[in-house]
Structure formats: C-alpha cells, structure tokens
Chain length 400, copies 2
C-alpha cells in the first residue's frame, strides 16, 4: 500500500471542505425482493445520486466482514490490514481516556462471583452511579506499584476501562474472562514470552481488586478483555494536512476518530443534533465525518422497517448538508448490516461522491445494485480518501 | 496479500457446503457475433444467474494468460504469484506419485533416437503396456546410487514421471529435451550454482537409462522436462478448515487438488459419472471442486460447436447440483479458452455465486458480457475463496 507514503507528499491545504456522511451498516440484503435501501423512500439521496459518481467499496477485501475498527480506518484512508485495533483501545478512546505509548488498556466488566464461579458477567447491570463509586474506591485503595500506575475509568452500567501505565508493557495477553457464566474466573495468559511480566502485573492487580471488592453483593469481581496498546497511527493532519472533525455520539466512533487525530464534536445522538452541530462547526474545520448509528443498530436488531425508516430520516437531512455547499459530499457506510443477517456482513458498501468534478453516471437511486453499476466501480474503501481529497483539490499531481 | 494470514484466523468449521463447479476454459470470444457461452442454450445456468450475484475474475491479473496450475491455485484461494508450480510436480501428483520435501520430479517421454538425433519425441506413442514394462525394466536395472533413489512411474502412451529422492536436490534445471524432432538430445543444465550437483545426477541417470534402453527399436531414449520440487503449500484444511473433495478425472487437476490437500474422487471422465460421484460423496465433505474438462479441450481444438455443446451438456446437470441444496454454489472457470484462439487466454472468467446471502443482480444469461455487469464486478480469482467461505458462514468478523 503506497497511499500512506504518497499522501503526505501530495496533499495540500486548501479552503475546500469535505463532508463524509457515514450511514453505519447501510448496505443490506433483499427481504421480499428489496433491500432496506431499495425499499426506503429517499428522494434527496436519489436526487443527489443522479448528479454524483457512484460505486461500491470493500472495507478490507471481498468476503471479509469487518469490525467497526478496520472498516472506519479504511474509510479514513488507513490500511486496515496494517493497523490492528484492539477492542480495549477503542473503548478507552471512546470514553475519553488519553492513551499514550506506554499505556496498556483493556475493557472491563464488574461481575458477580459466587462459590468461585462467575454467575453474572454483568453484575446485574449495576447503575452508572455505583460503577463510578466502585472505580473511585479501587483507584484510591489500590497499592502503589513500582513503575506501574493502574487507573479505572467508569463506563455505562457494569463496564469500565482500565489503564496500566509503565514501560515495557505488552498487549499480547489473553482475555481474563471466561466469556460465559457459571465458569470460574480465569487469569490472563501471556501470548508471547515478552508478555510474561505484564501478565503477572495484570493478574496481581486482579487479585488485589477482587480482594477490595469482596464486600459488594453484586459487583464482587472483575473481568478484563481486549488488552491493547496505542497503535502508532499518524494523524489525518500529518498524512492529509486536514483539520478534521468528527460529529459523532457513540464511544466507539468517537474513539476511532480521536485515534486518527480528529477533533470530537458530540452533540448527542439524534439526527437534528448531529446536523445542527455540523452547521455550527462548519467554519472551524475542513473535513467532517458525520456518523449515523441508527441504521446499523436497526440492522443488528434484524429490524428491516426500522432500518428503512432510519435511512429515510437521514435522507431528509441531505438538503441541509448541500446548503452548506461543501466542495465534496460523500455518502457511504463503514460496512453492510443486512437486517436479514442481524450482523455486520462482507457485502460491499454503496458509495456516492458529489462534487463539481465528479462524473455523473446512470445511478438514479442510491442502492447496492445501482451503485455497483456506477462510474466508480467496485474499489477498496481505503481509496475513498484519495478520491475525496482529489475532488476537493487537495492532492497535487504525482510525478512530473 | 494478507488473505493467507487472515484465513486460518477467521475461518470456522460449519455444516454448510460449498460446490465450486469449474467449467474449464469456459470464457470465449465471439465467432459470428456470439461467444460459445452466448451461443449455447443454457436455460438452467440462466435461471440460476437470475437468482445469483455475478462477476468476472482475473486468474492472475489483467492481460496474464495462466496455465492450469496458477489458474486453479487462485481459485483455491492461493496466491498464484507466490506459489510457482512446475509441470513435473503436477504430472507427478496427477498419476498418484507421492512427492515429499526431498523429492525432485520431472515429466518424461520415451522417444526414438537415430544417428544421435531425436527422430520421434513420442516414440510412436507406444502402448501403455510397453511403457509399463520399460519403466519396470529401468527401475530394476538402474544401479544403486549413494544417497539418491531414482524411480520411474509409467503414464499414458510414451509419458512417464521420474522421481529423484535425496537431500539437497534442486529444481533449477533446464529441460533435457530438444523440444523438436531432428535435433540431438540435450543434457539438463543447472540454472543456479546450487543445482550443479543435481544436474550431474540427472545427466548420469539419463546416460545410464539410455544405455539400458538401447536394444529397443522405438523407445530407445528419454527426454525430461519440467523439473520441480514440492511447493510448500498449506492444505485447504490448514488454511480454511475445509474438508474438501475434488471430483475430477484428468491427472493435472487431480494433481492440483492433491497439492492443496483435497481428497480425490475420480469417477471417470463423463459428466454423468462426475455428477453422480458428487451426489454419492455429498455427505462426506464440505467443499466440492468439480472439474469439467470437455469445454477446454474443445476450445483448444478450436471447435466452437463442440465447446458450445459441452456447455449445454454441463447446463443440463445444474438442477442435480441444486437438488443437493448446497449453501453455496459457484460456477466459473479457471481461465478462458476461446475456440478462436485454440488456447488458454487472458480474458476474465464468468463467475456466478448462488447463495441465500448473495445479492441477485440483473444478469439474466450467464455470459462473459453480462457477468461483467454483475454485482460482484471484476475481481482477482484469489478472492473467490473468501467470498465462498463468507457466503457459507465460514468466516468470522475481522477486528472489533
């Protein structure tokens, strides 16, 4: 992949603006002959498609179902096969934990243990307030370690993030989580020789924390998974000379955006909030990643109708984006989430590129099938970024 | 190409079944306005296409005409640019010769020499029985070599396979074959410094064998070509956790299948035999590679009509494959063999994917042109395997 090498060399700063509207899980599969997108009434997107160049993208490559991490990295112009993101790092960044080079993070659950068996991996979904108290208690009670700091950050209900800071920590660790109820808790295991010392630090912390929690009725143990260190990603400013903003509400997507150096604007989860925030912040940035979660959530629920409606609701805001007169407006998704499958899938994403320099094709309705016939053809999602930059006049000629 | 690294990590065992029907040399070029596939009456394939996602594949990349080796490797999910297969290894595997790490194999011809000139490179196509006797004679008469075993395996007519077993043998050897009649025989030449010793062993064997054969009237000399060692291929089970079977009759294709760890089911060359064998063995495997040779043979002969008829005959068996209710049925080819060219070509292959999770497109007739408009677009054949596995539910999500 030469894009990463070329990007800093070819990218230039201009006044032009790019909006990347990510309708999460947009692509689907037919139920009664039509996909969610085909069934939805989308006059604004259709109108836009008629004036745009369309195509379909593979987040990683054909057949590969991506998690949100690799799927977004690709859209942001980063090689999803080179930068591997652990779940822990995403969660940590999502709740606003600063993660540096010497930090190791993991996702945690407070859980309930009885007779040495985990009987509830979610500790009855304790309220956020109790979670917060437990984290404070642990943070103040844990013994000082030489050269290592441990800190817990409360999340929603039973979830938290733990950060270990210190030199030489490794993330080659197995989950300290039996994954199922009615099993004994498991320590983390080192997955490489270098990780042996880190495993001992983590297991020592677990023993101590469980000892501190032993009075609690529900949250009397903890589970850790997705150990990860900060991946060495250049920022979008370093690579593309962009000044980018993420208009996003969900932790995972804010985390991903922060990872590539975007400023986070979190106006709340509703569509009016997201689009208003885009308008309000339009003068401050030159790249806007807007993340719509509803479509993916409905797809994961297998709710065809709700996904269709979320697409229709999103459609109604397209005129407001156009009113901002961005030089480039791209509408696409990170991955497909067909209601039929109730999960992410490997199917390619519809991709629409609106710009003065886009060559309009015969796509009259934004759909999976029609986009596959579009001028842009089928391409790997990592090439979306060079395309956006090019259409925004932000990429110089390569070679003489 | 990260597919080889991802595959073992993402693949899972399920009960679902995949049928890969390879209609060898399927793609063609128009004669009087229609390709063989366009001219053929294929109601079953057309019917299937209407319910399937279609596309076209490049075995290696655009413009490259592949041999059967690389073309099949790509279809089986192996990088055809990384694993180079000598003709000798294919022939050896095809006739059932076990080839290990220390073995060097080559294709051989018994030939006729007169006055130190090769006058018939095929020794008048001697009967199989005589071939067998000659190999036995050589195997029993050849002197014992220190650290090296030599063994000949008879094939059809004048063809045989010779295997040299011993440490440090190299396959960097030129053919010991003048390629044309009325030329003197040539020794093998080492193509690298390391191969010098092996070349001497081979040439010493040739001298001795010719001496043993000197009484024969027709088969009084031998030619060797395609020296090759066993390539270090992981099996399809190791990479994809599949339990695969090849329903194939011709040595080359059986050899290719054996190379990637398929079990060989050889029911004979006729279509009824091939499809019956698929039915009979359907419970035993989860992946079926069915190889149809007739289409390619007709293409190589430049026989448009015969190729058209072979396509039509294949078409008539599609309902029997569908009756097995495989989760995934793919119909494609390893490479194109246009009758117009009487040879393999670089044109992309029609590709049809039938599955509950495939998004049907507007392809109503399985043809080169219509497939190029299909939802799957144009892709490298190596991505066929991730696609088949994904649609069969045999690939986990990549990343969180």
């Amino acid at each position: 992949m030469e894009w990463e090498k070329l990007a800093p060399e070819l990218s230039v700063v201009t006044d032009s603006k790019i909006i990347l509207l990510v309708i999460d899980g947009l692509g689907g599969l037919p139920i009664q002959g039509k996909t969610e997108l085909e069934a939805a009434h989308t006059p604004n997107l259709d109108n836009l498609a008629a004036k745009s160049a369309c195509g379909v993208t593979d987040p990683v490559f054909m057949g590969i179902t991506p998690g949100s991490g690799p799927a977004h990295l690709a859209l942001f112009g980063y090689n999803p096969l080179k930068y591997i993101l652990g779940r822990g790092i995403l969660e940590a960044l999502g709740v606003g934990v600063e993660v540096g080079k010497n930090d190791l993070v993991a996702r945690g659950n407070f859980a309930t243990s009885r007779n040495d068996l985990i009987v509830d991996r979610r500790a009855g979904r304790i309220p956020d307030s109790e979670n917060k108290k437990l984290c404070q208690k642990l943070n103040s009670s844990l013994k000082r370690r030489t050269g290592i700091k441990v800190f817990l950050y409360p999340g929603k209900e039973h979830r938290f993030v733990v950060k270990f800071s210190g030199k030489g920590l490794s993330d080659a660790l197995s989950d300290a989580d039996p994954q199922k109820d009615h099993k004994p808790r498991v320590p983390t295991q080192p997955l490489s020789e270098e990780a042996a010392e880190t495993a001992q630090i983590v297991n020592d912390f677990l023993d101590e924390a469980i000892d501190i929690l032993k009075g609690s009725s529900k949250a009397n143990t903890l589970l850790l998974r997705g150990f990860s260190k900060h991946p060495a990603l250049s920022t979008m400013h370093e690579l593309f000379k962009l000044n980018p903003a993420a208009i996003a509400n969900y932790p995972m997507y804010k985390g991903l955006a922060r990872l590539v150096g975007m400023k986070i604007v979190d106006p709340g989860p509703t569509l009016p909030e997201l689009f208003e925030a885009t308008e309000k912040n339009y003068d401050k940035y030159d790249f806007f990643y807007i993340h719509i979660k509803k479509t993916d959530a409905a797809g994961e629920d297998g709710d065809f109708e709700a996904k269709k409606e979320a697409i229709e609701e999103t459609d109604s805001y397209i005129p407001r984006l156009l009113a901002l007169k961005p030089e480039v407006l791209a509408v696409t998704s990170d991955h497909s989430t067909p209601s039929l499958l109730k999960s992410h899938s490997w199917h390619p994403n519809p991709f629409l590129l609106f710009s003065k320099t886009a060559l309009p094709d015969n796509v009259a309705h934004l759909s999976e099938k029609e986009c596959s016939q579009g001028f842009l053809g089928r391409f790997q999602a990592i090439y979306a970024m060079p395309l956006l930059l090019a259409h925004a006049g932000k990429l110089k000629k390569y070679g003489a």
